[in-house]
Symmetry: C2
Subunit: 680 residues, 2 copies
C-alpha cells in the first residue's frame, strides 16, 4: 500500500500547480493607478520585512527546540530533527506564499471593484485560495514524501512503523505547530497593535476617518491584516492539517495494521483534491449575495468529501479491525468522517448564531450599549460564555459517537473528515483581509465611494464565514488534540490516566491554568504594543504639523517598524513556554502528570477559545449594527460604548483565541515526541 | 470514640452562646439619633422581607430536591431527606442570624464612629463575628448531633458507618450546599443590581453622590450589602465547613477505621474553639492600623490550630493506617493540616498582591485607564488571567504533598485545617458590609464628614482581607471538591476514571463548559435586574420632581421590591440546574461520565473563580486609587474609565465568582448521594 502514497504526493503537487496558476492569474489582473500601486507596494514591503525578521528569529528558536526535544535521542532518532526542519520550513513557506499572493491581490481587488462586485470577489477569492492551495499542497507533499522515504529506509511492517517511522514523522508535526504558534502570536500582536493604535489616535483623538492616508499607522494596520490574518492563518491551517493526520497515523499504528497507518494520508490527499474542486464552486453573478457563493463552496466540499471517501475507505481500509477488545468494520470509519463533518457544521452554525448581525445575542449587546460601555462589556462577556454551551455538547457527542463507530481511531478520523471543509472555509478566512486591504486602498487612493462600498460588502460577507471557520477550527483542534493525547497514552506505556490520582489532579489543575496565563501574556502584549504605537502616532502629529494639513507625508515606515519589533519580542515568551512546559513537566513529574496537564490544557483551552472568539465576534458585529444606524448610529453614545467593546474583543478574537487551538495541539505533539524518554 | 462526639457538640453550643452574648452586646450599644434608627430600620425591613421571600421559594425547591435525590432510595435511606432538611435549615438559619446581627450593628457602628475608629471597629467586628460564630456553631451542632443519633440507631462498626451512616449524613451537606448556592446567587444578584442601578442613575446620570438619601435605590443598595455579603456569605461558609467535614468523614470510612470517621468532627470542633479565641485577638488602639489587628487574628488562628491539633491527632488517630497499599503514620495527618493552612495563606498572599492598592497590577490598570475604558478592561482581564497562575501551582503542590503525607484522606484533612482560619477570615468578610452600611448611614443622616472618613477607613481595611478570604475560599473549595470527588469514585465501585476513555472525555468537556454557562446566566441576571432598577429610578426622578429638590421622599420600598423579585426569579434556573445536571448525567451517562463532569467542573470552575475574583478586585482598587487623586482623580477621564471597569467587575467578584466554589462542591455532593443508584 506504500506505493499508494504517491497519490497524495501527486495531489499535493497538483494543488501547488493550481496555486501557481491562480497566483499568476491574479498577478495578470490590472493593478490600478500609480497611487494604488505605490500604497500596495508599501504594504507589501512592510509585510515582507516583518516576515523576514520573524523568520530569522524563528530560525534560531527552531534550532533550539529541535535540539531540546531530540537531545535525549540517540542515533536514527535525530531524524526527528530532520522532520521537524521540513515541517517548520513548509509551514513558514505556506505563510509566505499566502502573503505574497494576498499583497498582490489587494490593489487588484480594488481595481476590479471599480467594475463591480463579481470581478472583485473573483480576484479576492483567487488571491486567498492561493494560500489555501499551497498550504494543503505543501502539507501533504512533505508528509507523503517523508513517509515514502522513511518506509523505504526502515521498512513497512507495522512494528517498524510504530517504533521508528511514526515517531520520527511526528517531528514534522512539531515543526509545523511551532512555526504556526509563533506566526499566529506574532502576527496577531502586530495586527491588533496597529489596529488599536491607528483607531485610538486617528478615529477617536484626531477625528480623521479609518484608513485616512494622513494617519501614520494606516499602512501598519494594513500590513497587520496580511501578517496576522493571512500568514498567521496559513501556518495555522498547515499545522491543523498535519496534526490531524499525525494523530490518525499514530493511532492507526497502535491498532497494528499498516493499512490504517497509510489510510489517513490518502484521505488527506483526497481532501486536497476536494479543496481544489471546491474553490471552483465559489462564483457569483452581479446582484446575487456573495455569501451564498461561499456557502455553496463550503457545503459542496463537505458533500464531495463524504461521497469520495466512501470508495477509498471501502477499498483501502481493512474490512474489520479490533481495538480495545471491540471489532469495528470499515463502514465505521466512513461514519466517523460524516460525524466529524456534521459536528463541524453544527458548531459553525451555532457560532454564527452567537456572532452574526441581526441575531438576538448581537442585538442584545447593541441594545445594552445604550446604557454605556459597562453594560456593553458585561453583555458581551455573558454571550461569549453562554456560547460555549451548545458547541461543547456537540463536541462531546461527536467524540463519543465517533468512538462508538470506529474506536479511538474514529476520533482521529472525524478530525480528518473536517479537513476538506476547513480548507475551503479558511479560503474565505484568507479572502477577508484581502477585501479589507482593498477597502483601505480605495480610501487611501481616494477612489469613488461606490468602490469602498463594494469592498465593504465583500468584507462583511467574509466576517460571518470567518466566524464559522473559527468554530470549525476549534472543533477540529479538539478532535485532533484528543487523538494526539490518546496516542500519547498508548506510547507512554501507562494503562490509564486516572483523574482520582493526586499527581494527575495536580497536572490537570496546572494544565487548566496554562491557557489563562498564556492568554494573559498575549493580551498584555497587544496592550503594550498598542501603547507604543499610540505614542508614536501622537509624536508624529505633534512634531510634523503638516501631516494633518496634508502638506507633509507621515512616516509610516516607523510605525511598521514599531509593530514589527514589539510583535517579535512579545511572541518569544508565550511561544517558547508552550514548547518547554510539557518537556519540564514530563521529565519532572512523569507521563501521568503530563497526561493530566494535556487534558487540563485541552478542556480549559477549548472553553477559553470559544468564549473569546464568540465574545469578540459579537462585540464586533454589535458595533457594526449600531454603525448601520441603530440607537443613534455613528458618533452616538451607544456607538462609543460599542467601540470600546469591539476594542476589548480585538485581542480576544484575533490574537489569544486563535492561538489557543495551536497551543493545545502543540503541547500534545511535544509530549508525544518526548514520551519514550520520560518516566512513566 | 463516639462519646467524644459530645465534645464538638459542646463546642458548637458554646459558640452559639458566645454569639448570643455578642449579639446582645451589639444590641446594647447606642443606636444613634432618630433619623439613623429610621434608616437602619428601613434597611433591616428590606433585608428581612427579602430573606422571607427567598426562604419561602427555597422551601419549595428544597422539598423538590429532597424528593429528587432520595426518590430511588428505599427504607432507611429516606433519612437522607431528614439530614438534608436539617442541613438546609441550619444553613438558612446561619444566614438569618448573621443578617439580624449585621442590621443591628450598622447604625451602632456609625454612632460609635462618631467617637473614634476603635469603638467603631469593635462594634462592626462584633456584629460580623456573630455570624461566623453561629455558622460554625450550627454546622458542628447539626453534624455531631446527627452523627450521634445515627450511630446510636445503626451502630458504630466501620461497615455500618460506610454503608448507612455516612451516606445519610451526606444529605446534611447537600442541604447546606443547596441553600448556600441559592443564597449566594440570589443575594449576589440583589446586591449588584441595586449597586449598579443606584450608581448608574445616581452618580453618573444625575450627578448626586453615593448613598444620597434622594436616590430611591440607596436603601436597596444598603439592603443588598446585607443580603448578599452577609446572609449569602453565612450560608456559603456554612456549606464549606460541612462539605469539608463530610469529605473527610467519607474518605475516613473507606480506609476502614472508624476512628478516622470521627476524627474530622473533633478537629472541626477544635476549629470552632479556635474561631472563638481568634475573635478575641482582633482589637486595636486608636492610631494603629486596624489591618494589623485583623492580620493578627488570622495568623493567630492558624498558629493555635496547628498547636492544638497535634495532641488531638496523636491521641485519637490510629498510629498507622493503610490506604492504596501504602502505610501512613498519624504524624502525616498533622502535616496535612499544616499543608492546608500553608497553601491557604500563600494563595491569600498572592491574591492580595494581584488586587491590593499600591501593588503593580492595580497600578497598571489605573495607568491604562488614561487611554480609556477599553485599555482599562483589557488590562483588568489580563491581570485576572495572570493571577490564576501561582495560586493554581500552590494548589497543585498542596494537593500532592498532602497526599504524600497522609494519602487521599490527607487531602480532605488539609481542607479541614483551613477551617479555623477560614472562619476568622470570613468574620472580616462579614464585617466589611457592616462598615459599608455604617458609611451609608453616615451619609444619609448627614453626619459630620469625619464619621464617614472613619467608616471608609474600616471598609477599605475589610476589602483587602476580604480578597484574601476569597482566595482562601477557593483553595478550600478545591481541596474539599477533590476529596468529595475521590469519595465519589470509591463509592461508585469503579476502579479508575480514565481520561483517555471517550465517555470520560465527553464528561470532562461538558463539565468544563458548565461554569461558563452558569456564570453567563448569573452575570446576565445582574444585567437584567440592574436594567429594571435603572428604569425605576429614572421613572421616580421623572414623575416626582420633588425628590431631587429634597421636598418629596423617594419610594425606596419599590426599589427594594424590584431587586427582591428579580433576584428570586433569576436565582432559580442556575440554582436548580446545578442540582439536576449531575442527576441527569449520572442516570443517563453513568458514573464514569459523571466523574468526568465533576473533574471538568472543578478545574474550569476554579480557574474562572480565581480569574473573576482577581479581575473584579483589581478593577475596584484601581478605581479607588484614581479616586485618591491619581491621574486627575474623581471626575477625570481616567476615573470614568475606571468606573466602567469597576462596574464590569462587580458581577464578576460578587456574584458569579463566589457562587462558583459552591457549584463545584454542590455537584460533587449530589453525585456522592446518587452514586449507589446510577450505572457504573
Amino acid at each position: 500500500m506504500v506505493n499508494l502514497l504517491y497519490l497524495p504526493l501527486a495531489a499535493g503537487v497538483l494543488s501547488m500547480l493550481f496555486a501557481l496558476y491562480k497566483f499568476r492569474w491574479v498577478k495578470k489582473q490590472p493593478a490600478g493607478n500609480e497611487e494604488m500601486v505605490e500604497i500596495s507596494n508599501a504594504i507589501k514591503q512592510g509585510a515582507m520585512a516583518f516576515l523576514r525578521r520573524e523568520y530569522r528569529v524563528l530560525f534560531v528558536i527552531a534550532i533550539a527546540v529541535a535540539i531540546l526535544v531530540t537531545l535525549p535521542e540517540k542515533g536514527f532518532m535525530n531524524l526527528v530533527a530532520v522532520s521537524f526542519a521540513v515541517g517548520a520550513l513548509f509551514s513558514g513557506l505556506a505563510g509566505y506564499i499566502g502573503m505574497r499572493s494576498a499583497t498582490n491581490a489587494n490593489c487588484r481587488t480594488t481595481e476590479a471593484a471599480r467594475k463591480g462586485l463579481v470581478p472583485a470577489l473573483k480576484v479576492a477569492f483567487n488571491g486567498g485560495s492561493v494560500m489555501v492551495l499551497s498550504v494543503v499542497g505543501l502539507s501533504i507533499i512533505g508528509l507523503s514524501a517523508l513517509m515514502i522515504i522513511y518506509t523505504r529506509v526502515f521498512g513497512t511492517d507495522v512494528g517498524t512503523l510504530n517504533d521508528t517511522v511514526i515517531p520520527i514523522l511526528s517531528g514534522y508535526s512539531l515543526g509545523a505547530s511551532s512555526v504556526a504558534l509563533f506566526a499566529r502570536v506574532g502576527g496577531g500582536i502586530f495586527t491588533k497593535a496597529a489596529d488599536v493604535g491607528a483607531d485610538l489616535v486617528g478615529k477617536v483623538e484626531t477625528g480623521i476617518p479609518e484608513d485616512d492616508p494622513r494617519n501614520p499607522a494606516t499602512i501598519a494596520d494594513n500590513v497587520g491584516d496580511n501578517v496576522g490574518d493571512v500568514a498567521g492563518l496559513g501556518s495555522d491551517l498547515c499545522e491543523s492539517y498535519i496534526g490531524s493526520i499525525i494523530g490518525a497515523v499514530t493511532l492507526g499504528g497502535t491498532i497494528g495494521d499498516s493499512r490504517l497507518v497509510f489510510l489517513p494520508l490518502i484521505i488527506a490527499g483526497l481532501g486536497v483534491i476536494v479543496s481544489m474542486i471546491a474553490t471552483a464552486f465559489v462564483r457569483t453573478r452581479e446582484g446575487n449575495d456573495p455569501q451564498r457563493a461561499l456557502n455553496f463552496g463550503t457545503i459542496g466540499a463537505a458533500v464531495i468529501m463524504v461521497i469520495a471517501s466512501a470508495p477509498v475507505i471501502l477499498y483501502l481500509a481493512p474490512e474489520t479491525y479490533s481495538a480495545g477488545g471491540i471489532t469495528y468494520t470499515n463502514m465505521g470509519l466512513f461514519y466517523a468522517i460524516i460525524i466529524g463533518l456534521l459536528s463541524g457544521v453544527l458548531i459553525g452554525i451555532i457560532t454564527e448564531y452567537y456572532t452574526a448581525d441581526g441575531k438576538k445575542p448581537v442585538l442584545d449587546i447593541a441594545r445594552q450599549s445604550q446604557t454605556g460601555a459597562a453594560t456593553n462589556i458585561i453583555s458581551g462577556i455573558e454571550k461569549g460564555m453562554l456560547a460555549t454551551g451548545l458547541p461543547v455538547v456537540m463536541l462531546a457527542i461527536g467524540i463519543y459517537v465517533a468512538f462508538l463507530a470506529a474506536g479511538l481511531y474514529g476520533i482521529a478520523f472525524a478530525a480528518l473528515g473536517m479537513l476538506a471543509t476547513t480548507g475551503i472555509q479558511l479560503a474565505v478566512d484568507a479572502y477577508g483581509p484581502i477585501a479589507d486591504n482593498a477597502g483601505g486602498l480605495a480610501e487611501m487612493a481616494q477612489l469613488p465611494a461606490e468602490v469602498r462600498e463594494r469592498t465593504d460588502k465583500l468584507d462583511s460577507v467574509g466576517n460571518t464565514t470567518a466566524a464559522i471557520g473559527k468554530g470549525f477550527a476549534i472543533g477540529s483542534a479538539a478532535f485532533t488534540a484528543l487523538s494526539l493525547f490518546v496516542a500519547f497514552k498508548e506510547k507512554a506505556g501507562i494503562e490509564v490516566i486516572d483523574v482520582t490520582k493526586p499527581i494527575v489532579v495536580a497536572g490537570l489543575l496546572i494544565g487548566g491554568m496554562l491557557p489563562y496565563v498564556f492568554s494573559s501574556f498575549v493580551i498584555g502584549a497587544v496592550g503594550r504594543a498598542a501603547f507604543k504605537m499610540i505614542e508614536e502616532v501622537r509624536r508624529q502629529f505633534r512634531t510634523m504639523p503638516g501631516i494633518l494639513e496634508g502638506t507633509q507625508k507621515p512616516d509610516h515606515v516607523r510605525c511598521v517598524d514599531i509593530a514589527t519589533q514589539a510583535a517579535i519580542r512579545e511572541m518569544i515568551i508565550p511561544g517558547v513556554s508552550a514548547v518547554i512546559i510539557p518537556v519540564i513537566i514530563g521529565y519532572m513529574g512523569g507521563a501521568e502528570m503530563l497526561g493530566g496537564v494535556l487534558v487540563g490544557v485541552t478542556v480549559s483551552g477549548i472553553m477559553l477559545a470559544l468564549f473569546m472568539a464568540n465574545s469578540g465576534g459579537a462585540w464586533d458585529n454589535a458595533k457594526k449594527y449600531i454603525e448601520s444606524g441603530a440607537y443613534g448610529g455613528k458618533g452616538s453614545e451607544a456607538h462609543k460604548a460599542a467601540v470600546i467593546g469591539d476594542t476589548v474583543g480585538d485581542p480576544f478574537k484575533d490574537t489569544a483565541g486563535p492561538a489557543m487551538d495551536i497551543v493545545i495541539k502543540l503541547m500534545a505533539v511535544v509530549s508525544l515526541i518526548i514520551v519514550t524518554n520520560i518516566p512513566a
